[in-house]
């Protein structure tokens, strides 16, 4: 049975199952969420109002045995940026939604009363139930109760208290195969879910399966695809050190934003590095390798235990560790892990919130390096929704405005992540031009600027950076539509067998005959759809700019500034 669109109207508490319109049929994941948001959400609407819609979509290959295909896309108009947004997460829900025959779940409208609700998705459709028990709870307490109430196999998509309070950095968390959480972190989509008064969504596919048109061809393609991933040395390093292997290399390059983006190297880099983390995990009986969804062959996640050898956090990522660490000058990995756990529990973006605290440190709210102070602010202010907590929960831009700080590292009001655009210029182009505010995953030029993957391009030179970012942003939009983890890109950039195998998987799954050009054109059309939404929402090319402090404050050790002109940046859209 072909997958359908499941629609939930929270205004009149009705649900429906619809055929997939022809224009949406070739889309999945980000391509589908952005296509639906562009088609159905008025671009000028208030992101937390009745006219915004929250869309979940599994990827084109999610729910099949294809390796690394379990990523979930969540889309809406973002309350943080005001742009279109797709936030991407691991966990089990993408695969389970696909097995329910649900191509996309659209949540629209808004209840007129102040009750909370849960949604239950099965192959028969969606049911809406009033919820009280887990409302007001952090994610981990809520999950414990839901694990007793629901069968263990069910998927759960949930918001924490940040989402309930409609904080603009609230995330949406997704249960992983071990019962821990992964998050669609960026852009405040948890606040959109909170505005719909939906605390959680359970997903039970029962005996549902995803149909594959040509299973023999699919198996052959999947074997070649998985082999290309497993054989790539970056995959092997990711399984050993996690993404946090980047601390030392980005620090060495002079592009590790430190002390609220005033330096490019952090004296405490070794203490928070992937190498140190790996050794601590082994000493404390944690797990170096861990997968965020079934079928992942890279396993970049891990189980990090505390000093008493008890579970503290998983999915302990470079960008979170950078933000809580170097950007706030905290060099204690256990304090950073505690903060990561608290952020997951509150249900708030670890990048945005930590960068916001870095700006608050500059404002004198607390001292740089004050790890205990940071933990106190998370538990006593953000989790409880005090005035200060809500300012920090509104993101780095809100903190800058509230305290009159001018060094505020945001683009389209979204915090710049772990790579300084002055010293790694390709990332600056991605931050400036991304359809979703500053976001490293939109076009990860680090591969070529720093890591020597997919060629190499001098990170301090402007030469070739616009073209590099454009090509990567197009490819990323396409990968985000397949349900594939973005980390397949390292193999795709270097191994000539990887992308053809991925295209063979799509063709075998759907009985179609896509070519490489079709995939590139898909990526281009997704970017153009997203860009058109933003223009209609009131954005112009003047919004595709970095904050001006990057142009006037040289970044040590290279003492470089951001030196792209507006005209040069605008050539990004020449395709």
């Amino acid at each position: 049975m072909a997958a359908k669109i499941f629609r939930v109207n929270m205004s009149d508490l009705s649900t429906s199952i619809e055929e997939v319109p022809a224009a949406w049929a070739g889309h999945g994941g980000r391509g589908l969420t952005s296509t639906i948001v562009a088609a159905e959400v008025p671009p000028t609407c208030h992101p937390l109002g009745v006219n915004n819609k929250l869309v979940f979509a599994s990827g084109l290959l999610s729910g099949t045995p294809a390796a690394n295909s379990g990523r979930l896309s969540c889309g809406a108009k973002s309350p943080l940026t005001g742009t279109i947004k797709e936030s991407n997460s691991g966990g089990s829900s993408a695969q389970l939604l696909a097995k329910c025959g649900c191509k996309a779940l659209i949540i629209e409208g808004q209840p007129k009363d102040d009750a909370w609700y849960s949604l239950a998705v099965t192959p028969e459709g969606v049911t809406i139930t009033k919820e009280a028990e887990v409302v007001g709870m952090g994610n981990f307490a809520a999950l414990e109760i839901l694990d007793q109430r629901l069968s263990a196999k069910q998927g759960i998509i949930i918001i924490g208290t940040a989402g309930e309070m409609k904080m603009r950095s609230a995330n949406i968390s997704v249960k992983d195969p071990d019962g821990n959480l992964r998050s669609g972190g960026r852009g405040g989509l948890g606040a959109v879910m909170g505005s719909k008064r939906v605390k959680f969504i359970s997903i039970d596919p029962k005996d549902g399966k995803v149909e594959i048109a040509d299973m023999d061809k699919f198996r052959v393609a999947n074997k070649a695809f998985a082999k290309s991933l497993i054989d790539h040395p970056v995959s092997q390093a990711l399984g050993t050190y996690g993404t946090n292997v980047l601390v030392n290399i980005i620090n060495e390059s002079g592009g590790l934003p430190t002390r609220n983006f005033t330096k490019g190297q952090f004296d405490g880099h070794e203490q928070i590095s992937g190498e140190t983390m790996h050794d601590l995990i082994q000493e404390r009986g944690g797990k170096v390798k861990h997968n965020c969804h079934a079928g992942c062959v890279i396993q970049c996640s891990q189980i990090y235990n505390d000093v008493k050898n008890k579970y503290k956090t998983s999915g302990f990522e470079y960008e979170s560790i950078w933000a809580l660490g170097a950007d706030c000058e905290i060099d204690n990995l256990d304090q950073i892990a505690e903060a990561d756990h608290l952020l997951d529990d509150i249900g708030i973006d670890s990048i945005e919130t930590a960068v916001a605290i870095g700006v608050a440190m500059e404002a004198g709210v607390l001292e740089f390096g004050d790890g205990e102070g940071l933990l106190r602010i998370l538990t006593e202010e953000v989790a409880k929704g005090t005035g200060l907590g809500r300012i920090i929960g509104g993101g780095a831009g809100d903190v800058g405005r509230a305290y009159g700080v001018t060094r505020v590292p945001v683009v389209k009001n979204q915090a710049i992540p772990a790579y300084d655009p002055r010293a790694i210029k390709g990332m600056g182009i991605t931050y400036a031009t991304s359809t979703q505010g500053a976001d490293h995953t939109m076009g990860y030029t680090i591969a070529t600027n720093i890591l020597g993957v997919g060629g190499s391009l001098d990170p301090l030179s402007k030469e070739g950076q616009v073209e590099l970012s454009r090509n990567l942003q197009i490819a990323t939009a396409a990968i985000d539509s397949t349900g594939m983890c973005l980390f397949i890109a390292f193999a795709a950039l270097d191994d000539a067998t990887c992308l053809p195998a991925l295209i063979d998987l799509l063709n075998a799954c759907y009985g179609i005959e896509l070519t490489g050009d079709d995939v590139t054109n898909l990526g281009k059309s997704i970017l153009k759809t997203e860009h058109a939404f933003n223009l209609a929402a009131g954005f112009t090319n003047q919004d595709d700019r970095l904050p001006d402090f990057f142009s006037v404050e040289p970044l040590p050790p290279h003492n470089v500034v951001w030196d792209f002109s507006g005209e040069e940046i605008d050539t990004f859209w020449n395709f």
Partner: protein, 74 residues
């Protein structure tokens, strides 16, 4: 000449994190790597004083040489 050599990820196993070492002039980056028992095809990138360099680049007194295997993240 004195050169500070920094190793990362699994290159540290059985070797060191950072060491000030003595080399004759001229010494190329590749000679330092091979002298540590590391195969050139295991190398991801190398940097001298925080700038990418080539295997044939010659070292100078006081240089910092960082040697990374093929790694990635994001």
């Amino acid at each position: 000449m004195k050169v500070t050599v920094k190793l990362f990820a699994f290159f540290r196993a059985g070797r060191f994190k950072v060491e000030e070492r003595e080399y004759p002039e001229p010494t190329a980056v590749s000679e330092v790597i091979e002298g540590l028992g590391i195969n050139l095809d295991e190398i991801g990138i190398t940097m001298i004083n925080s700038r990418h360099c080539q295997f044939e680049t010659l070292l100078k007194e006081g240089d910092n040489l960082a040697i990374f295997p093929v790694i990635g993240g994001g």
